[in-house]
Symmetry: C2
Subunit: 292 residues, 2 copies
């Protein structure tokens, strides 16, 4: 299955590498051409001239871009090259509505579409162990399975087009709540004068254990907020989640608080940092905060 990849960012580049390892990657394209040229050289694949050229060369086209408008523009740009039966797999995190719009455009020219957002951080992208939340037809998913399994450790079919994005929205809501919970707990532990490295190590093994504490805890207490997952992107996702919640009458107080906190951090110039920079609002981590 000749596969192309569009969007070679922090998540997309390692995902493309795993497709190459699985012998599936044929071509890449990126809005910033230098990134595509570099990765194509590393992986010995073609740099497509444009999205339409990439679509024309492939049986499956993966996208991993930032925002709703980026997905729809990229779809429009690849449509002229898309052959009937080609599957477009969108790994971006966008709204369910955008997924349905994208699917309609693709289906109108005889292609198939899956919304397949992922979770597991850059670590999961590198290891090929991402959780992949898929919306679309079951037979399209089966056709695309080799591609999904090259990047994911758990592939879940959640329902029709849009259900993958709805599931990712739940994931993003939970990430916000866990970020708040971890910051509150670490600030409390610091106030108690505990050695936070030791605290993180031991409580990660118990009933409060979670991915975020284990992966980001040790760096955030050092005041290191290299992304990871950019705060401004999570802010964008949470705005979508809040709209979805409003339409369905769901209350999302931790999302509301996190949006307000992120807005403050973005205003202070921290939007490009990892979401764990939320800790800045609790205390100024400096790597010397452990008293024990």
């Amino acid at each position: 299955m000749r596969t192309g990849f569009i969007g070679l960012g922090a998540m997309g580049a390692p995902m493309a590498r795993n497709l190459a390892r699985a012998g599936l990657l044929t071509a890449v394209w990126n809005r910033t051409p230098a990134k595509a040229a570099e990765l194509a050289k590393e992986l010995d694949v073609t740099v497509a001239a444009d999205p339409a050229d990439l679509a024309h060369r492939c049986d499956a086209v993966c996208l991993c871009v930032s925002a709703d408008a980026d997905v729809l523009e990229t779809i429009d740009a690849l449509l002229p090259g898309l052959r009937p039966g080609t599957v477009v797999i969108d790994h971006s995190t966008v709204s369910s509505e955008t997924a349905r719009l994208a699917a309609a455009k693709i289906r109108a020219v005889g292609g198939d579409f899956l919304d397949a957002p992922v979770s597991g951080g850059v670590e999961g992208a590198r290891a090929g162990t991402l959780a992949v939340m898929v919306g679309g037809e079951a037979n399209t998913l089966e056709k695309a399975r080799p591609v999904l399994e090259a990047v994911g450790g758990r592939i879940a079919h959640m329902g029709d087009v849009g259900a993958g994005q709805a599931t990712k929205a739940v994931n993003q809501v939970l990430c916000a709540g866990i970020n708040q919970a971890v910051c509150e707990a670490l600030a409390f532990g610091r106030a108690l004068g505990l050695n936070l490295d030791k605290v993180i190590d031991v409580i990660s093994k118990g009933a409060a254990g979670n991915w975020f504490l284990e992966k980001r805890g040790p760096t955030m207490i050092q005041g290191s907020f290299e992304p990871g997952f950019k705060l401004s992107l999570h802010h964008k996702d949470l705005q979508i989640c809040r709209e979805m919640a409003r339409h369905r009458g769901a209350e999302v107080p931790l999302v509301e608080k996190t949006l307000a906190d992120y807005r403050r951090l973005m205003a202070e110039g921290h939007g490009e940092e990892d979401i764990s920079a939320l800790l800045r609002l609790w205390y100024q981590p400096d790597g010397n905060c452990q008293k024990n």
Copy 2:
């Protein structure tokens, strides 16, 4: 090392079983005698007549009881039998102050003391993989290590007596925040009409993954709140945490909210349920709530 165990509840009984498997358990005692008799028969160990009798028979005495007053009463009751050099290991979750009071009583008669609260739920207690947060002297910990390793998967020396309980307090604060985060996310997912079993399965494998969602998610969405960890006990712990936070000037908003929520649930008769019964305040789970 002849080891005795006092307090054979949901956590204590499986911990005692693991000590027996390691060939360390000599005697047990419990406030409700029937429990002790039953477990002693199963494990072929002695039922002590009282805590002092148990202490007299052992080189290490483990406690796992509910509240601060229970720890101090039990210590008072075992002191008459305690021989110099015996180590008392308190696995209960109580305040650091109680740990220091207990240590003073034990040391006054030549014994050694460790506060060694645990986390990892009944699952971790059964599997012998608990996270054990230890406060006390390093050489006392080394003496007690075989006992701790029989029940724990990770043994962390956090500092002087009281530091184990302080670390456990951080753990309990984080458990409260994660409970809130998981309930908000599940209620949001339900409002979106998603199949929550599938949502839990897939997002547990990504960056929002956590012990609580993985272990309690599948049962809580069915409206099953068998403890696990009793809500009234977590309420008790969080009251201690709130006091500690006040003394140190730390803000703990998710603890404050969780205390208020638990009070409401306890008033409605749900104090003996698992802490995941917090979901009742988001929607009435009935096992038929998934629409997809």
